[in-house]
């Protein structure tokens, strides 16, 4: 089908992005993979000796000298996965009804709402999270307003808890769930809903058997987009969790800074990348393809 000319223009068009990805994505990635098999330098950096303990250590193996057997890193990883999945659930529950509602608005209002949802990106993340510290602390906005309204009598105390971390993560990642959901809900063919109603389905059945399956690609895309940054996040656990809720992102940050163990940090990063990669492959195979077929 493709003529020579098509191929030529195609390669011209793809060259910049290929070069860009090669230099700025594959290059650093290769450095990371290589570092993960080397010995850590005393003051950061690496010593060019093959060193297999980095991966063993993730699973708890001890090198006998610096480490005892302890699967502490697996614990951290599992906790991160649990928090990231919870966060996917929260954002989905918040965004799905919101996206349904927005898709029913007039075009002008829809544009406005989508603009409002992307608005927080204009402000630095750290500043926004520090606002949450001020909101969630016992003498903060949330507690005082609820007490003022007489809803609670004692100040609520959720700063520096896992709840605070979940609130913060859901807050920063809501747009990543909302936008793909909204995109797939907006595309929904309304004649299908009419057909479903004509054939005697009640609203719940219509939702469960027509709307939900049709918007599954949006849900999956949103879930992947929220899950990945949740798993690697380290700013929210630090600021809102008071660094007491350690996630894999904190662990990696610690390896590159205070612990000065770049190879172990690299090994942890490679492990996360592999998990993410498998997730995305799964997504493309199962859901992505069905969307293309449709």
């Amino acid at each position: 089908m493709a003529t020579k000319r098509d191929l030529r223009s195609l390669s011209t068009l793809l060259t910049p992005s290929t070069l860009f990805l090669g230099v700025f994505f594959l290059g650093p990635l290769a450095v990371m993979v290589i570092f993960s098999f080397l010995e850590p330098g005393i003051y950061g950096g690496v010593v060019w000796n093959f060193y297999h303990w980095n991966y063993g250590r993730i699973l708890g193996w001890a090198d006998g000298e610096w480490e005892d057997f302890d699967p502490v890193y697996i614990d951290i990883f599992l906790r991160s996965v649990r928090l990231a999945l919870t966060n996917v659930g929260i954002t989905l529950l918040v965004c799905y009804p919101a996206a349904l509602w927005v898709s029913g608005l007039s075009v002008r209002w829809r544009t406005f709402v989508v603009f409002i949802i992307t608005l927080p990106f204009f402000v630095s993340l750290v500043v926004r999270l520090f606002c949450w510290v001020l909101i969630l602390r016992p003498s903060g906005f949330l507690s005082t307003s609820l007490m003022g309204l007489g809803i609670i009598s004692e100040p609520i105390d959720i700063i520096y808890t896992e709840t605070a971390v979940l609130i913060g993560m859901a807050y920063i990642l809501l747009p990543f769930m909302f936008l793909p959901l909204y995109a797939s809900i907006e595309k929904l063919d309304h004649s299908l809903l009419e057909a479903s109603a004509d054939l005697g389905a009640n609203p719940f059945q219509t939702f469960w058997r027509v709307i939900l399956p049709c918007t599954l690609p949006g849900i999956a895309a949103g879930a992947v987009l929220v899950f990945i940054p949740s798993l690697g996040n380290f700013i929210v656990p630090d600021l809102l969790g008071g660094a007491k809720v350690m996630m894999i992102g904190n662990l990696i940050e610690q390896q590159f800074l205070s612990a000065r163990n770049w190879p172990f940090g690299s090994a942890l990063s490679v492990m996360i990348m592999l998990v993410m990669f498998m997730l995305i492959v799964f997504y493309l195979r199962r859901i992505g393809r069905s969307e293309i077929v449709r």
Binding site: Y43, D75, V133, I159, N261
Partner: protein, 343 residues
């Protein structure tokens, strides 16, 4: 529109003029955030005509990583003493012959604590201070010891410690009678167990607690003597104490980098900063200890007679400073990961 254009032209030409007026030189400073009185830098520029640019970092490691990865253009850095020892060993520092410069006689020998440069030839001792407890008197009452501090959670009050493995493990080592530089496995295990016992009592490991202590959301926090800035503003409400059992201290030195493009400007800055009135000007805003002995006499009484910023010798004797641990840092890292992960 016209006015804006005029303003822009005026602004641009002012920039060009000021640049040529400052042809005397350039000094690129790489320092911790908020760790020098901006007025010191302004005065330096006014007196010498050298233009100063300031970049900041948050941790020693961040600075080291940046310098190691080949960041060029910086002239002077402000590492902690153990980090400047590392940097000197790695050959990152220039021997500025600091101890031959005008004004070096003002530097207190007690602040020349580097292990690899005891004569202060490479770096100039800058400032130091204790790391103790910053507290809200309305919530915590008066505190004197670490035991008082750890008793607060039992009364329903919140406490926080620093998100820094050396500092927080350091407190545990001090409480168990060990050196904060101990590399003895048993001592570290003891410190780990001691911290794990108290993990539930510690609300957070954080630096960003000033506004929360001021509001009383946190009763007391493991924090730097720089908190004196706030305790002097509200002496009835806020307090700082160096605990009786002992505490850690920090000290930073100013060093010239090996690749510094403006070494002459750096030397001029050292001589400028060794003047007692300039060091005092800095201390006034930084509210910590200065290495410049005559400068201490120039300070106002609330700082000079302050047992925290200018502690008496018997208190200073109980302060321990971090040394470079080399590979043994991994043991500390292990303890820290365990403490932070424990549920």
């Amino acid at each position: 529109m016209h006015a804006i254009l005029k303003f822009a032209i005026a602004f641009a030409s002012a920039l060009i003029i000021s640049q040529s007026a400052y042809a005397a030189g350039q000094l690129n400073v790489y320092n911790w955030g908020d760790y020098i009185n901006p007025e010191v830098l302004t005065r330096f520029s006014e007196e010498t005509g050298i233009e100063v640019s300031l970049d900041t970092y948050g941790t020693n490691e961040e600075m080291l990583a940046k310098i190691q990865s080949g960041a060029t253009g910086y002239d002077i850095v402000f590492p902690s003493v153990h980090m400047r020892d590392i940097m000197q060993k790695l050959g990152l520092l220039h021997d500025a012959k600091v101890n031959t410069l005008n004004g070096f006689e003002n530097i207190d020998p007690a602040n020349m604590i580097s292990k690899v440069d005891p004569e202060s030839s490479f770096c100039l001792p800058y400032a130091w201070g204790a790391v103790g407890i910053f507290y809200n008197k309305e919530e915590a009452g008066e505190l004197k010891t670490w035991d008082d501090f750890f008793a607060l959670p039992d009364k329903g009050k919140k406490i926080t410690m620093l998100d820094d493995l050396r500092e927080t493990i350091g407190v545990a080592l001090i409480k168990n009678g060990h050196s904060v530089n101990s590399t003895d496995g048993d001592a570290l295990k003891q410190a780990e167990a001691w911290l794990l016992e108290r993990k539930d009592k510690i609300s957070a490991f954080s630096y960003d607690i000033v506004s929360l202590v001021q509001a009383g959301d946190i009763a007391a926090a493991h924090w730097y003597v720089g908190a004196t800035l706030y305790t002097l503003e509200e002496p009835d409400k806020l307090g700082f104490v160096i605990p009786e059992e002992g505490a850690t201290m920090y000290q930073e030195d100013i060093c010239v980098l090996k690749d510094a493009p403006n070494k002459d400007s750096a030397i001029k800055f050292f001589e400028f900063y060794m003047q007692p009135e300039i060091a005092a000007l800095n201390t006034l805003q930084q509210v910590n200890g200065t290495a410049n002995a005559p400068a201490r006499d120039l300070l106002p009484p609330e700082l000079k007679a302050n047992p925290n910023t200018n502690p008496p010798p018997e208190v200073v004797a109980k302060l321990q400073i971090f040394e470079d641990l080399g590979n043994d840092l991994r043991m500390y890292n292990r303890v820290w990961t365990k403490v932070r992960t424990a549920q």
